[in-house]
């Protein structure tokens, strides 16, 4: 028996009304999409057992999860172009890299087969973090508003949109990378806000610097990106 009687207390008419109305209308579940969820579970489990199948862990891309970062509106097509450039550059760089095929004939696999999604995302993420490091360095060294790159706000906005893209991607599966991207997002928001505030944004810029220092963000970015090019997947 539901409700107040089972709990041994009296809930009254108002309580009963709340319960009945909530039952009817509060996040009332639809029919359980049993088959769709099962298909997605099986897909992910197969991918874990056999990464070569390419299904990959993470969100079910077939349902357009990748479109979510584009719902923000203001990044719009610029974000799409940036994302395509980033991933395209990463793919091109990897496939052109001499020795990317690794120990020749060791396993009979081609470079393409051995290049995992994880490696590609790592390459793309490294590039992103390097650009973020450049922006934060500019922020840190600019003591007066006039010293700060005049395009800093626009730059921060673009990097912010990319950061959110990476947060929604397998790149953020690693907890350390995720934490770094989240802290970066926080600082970039403050920089972008400061820029929009114009001369009155000095306080926001200072807060961004403080947030950067508190989180050791610049140091973490430098540690997260390789100092010299490496051959991924080897």
């Amino acid at each position: 028996m539901m409700g107040s009687e089972r709990d041994g207390g009296s809930d009254g008419g108002v309580g009963r009304w709340i319960r009945e109305e909530a039952l009817r209308s509060y996040n009332r579940p639809p029919e359980t999409p049993t088959e769709e969820i099962w298909d997605a579970v099986e897909r992910r489990r197969r991918a874990r057992r056999d990464p070569g199948e390419g299904a990959g862990p993470g969100p079910d891309r077939s349902r357009g999860r990748w479109t979510r970062p584009f719902e923000g509106g203001w990044a719009g097509w610029g974000l799409a172009v940036a994302a395509a450039l980033v991933v395209g550059l990463a793919l091109g760089r990897f496939s052109a890299e001499p020795g990317a095929s690794g120990p020749a004939g060791a396993t009979g696999e081609s470079a393409g087969e051995r290049a995992s999604d994880g490696d590609l995302y790592r390459v793309a993420t490294d590039g992103h973090l390097t650009r973020a490091e450049a922006l934060l360095t500019s922020l840190r060294t600019g003591d007066a508003p006039a010293d700060v790159d005049p395009d800093l706000g626009r730059w921060a906005g673009e990097l912010l949109a990319e950061t959110r893209l990476y947060l929604d991607s397998p790149a953020a599966a690693d907890p350390g990378t995720r934490a770094l991207l989240e802290d970066l997002e926080l600082v970039l928001v403050q920089v972008a806000v400061a820029d929009r505030a114009g001369p009155g944004g000095a306080g926001d810029r200072e807060r961004a610097r403080e947030a950067m220092e508190e989180r050791d963000l610049l140091l973490r970015l430098r540690n997260a990106t390789p100092p010299v090019p490496t051959t991924y997947g080897s």
Partner: protein
């Protein structure tokens, strides 16, 4: 150990006209849990599917009630079963399998919602600053259901969870205690506080509507 049906009447009441919960109860009543688990661990695909079918409805419903978003609820439900199959070997059987699964559901859903909330707050902060919305006339007076939603959403997380599980999904306090690893009395106390807060927040609406 056979699977024990609990709160079937409550669950059917919580389902209302829906029959998903009732179908799930009927399926579960014919499944011997330890045997099913053994077959799953042996890699029997039919057993995996049977385990999934026996529990997916209630897992999804709980995730949806908490998240209020179908895409999120699907993602969380997926994650629950991914984790369940990965860690089934470690399931000791000291609680019902459903208790264990619903514990995973609560963890996955609450963690997921916290991340969503953090991201939305940050996005909203930036969007508000960039768009500089004018301070025009306030939004329209919320209607009844919106007020109810806001009141329930505004409950502290641990109260909202007990309210949703008990009042809307028909979990007993014993089941809630097992899932949340709290005493039955604590579950009752949290529900009592949730109800009191909702009564206070919604008294005006409730009286008008009931009149």
């Amino acid at each position: 150990m056979s699977y024990s049906r609990t709160s079937a009447a409550d669950r059917s009441r919580a389902d209302g006209p829906q029959t998903g919960g009732q179908r799930a109860v009927e399926r579960r009543s014919h499944v011997d849990e330890p045997e099913l688990i053994r077959r799953v661990l042996d890699g029997d695909p039919a057993a995996e599917r049977a385990l999934y079918e026996a529990h997916v409805d209630r897992v999804f419903r709980l995730a949806f009630r908490m998240a209020g978003d179908e895409e999120l609820a699907r993602d969380y439900t997926q994650e629950v079963f991914i984790r369940a199959f990965s860690h089934l070997e470690g399931f000791r059987g000291d609680a019902a399998l459903s208790t264990w699964l619903h514990r995973i559901t609560v963890t996955v859903t609450l963690n997921g919602l916290r991340k969503v909330k953090r991201r939305r707050e940050r996005e909203l902060e930036l969007d508000e600053e960039l768009d500089r919305p004018d301070d025009g006339p306030g939004r329209a007076e919320p209607d009844l259901r919106e007020s109810l939603r806001e009141a329930i959403d505004g409950l502290p997380e641990h109260q909202r969870l007990v309210f949703v599980m008990h009042e809307l999904e028909g979990y007993t306090h014993e089941e809630i205690g097992g899932v949340l690893e709290i005493a039955t009395g604590t579950s009752k106390a949290r529900l009592s506080r949730a109800r009191a807060r909702l009564r206070e927040d919604l008294a005006e609406f409730a009286e008008e509507y009931m009149a």
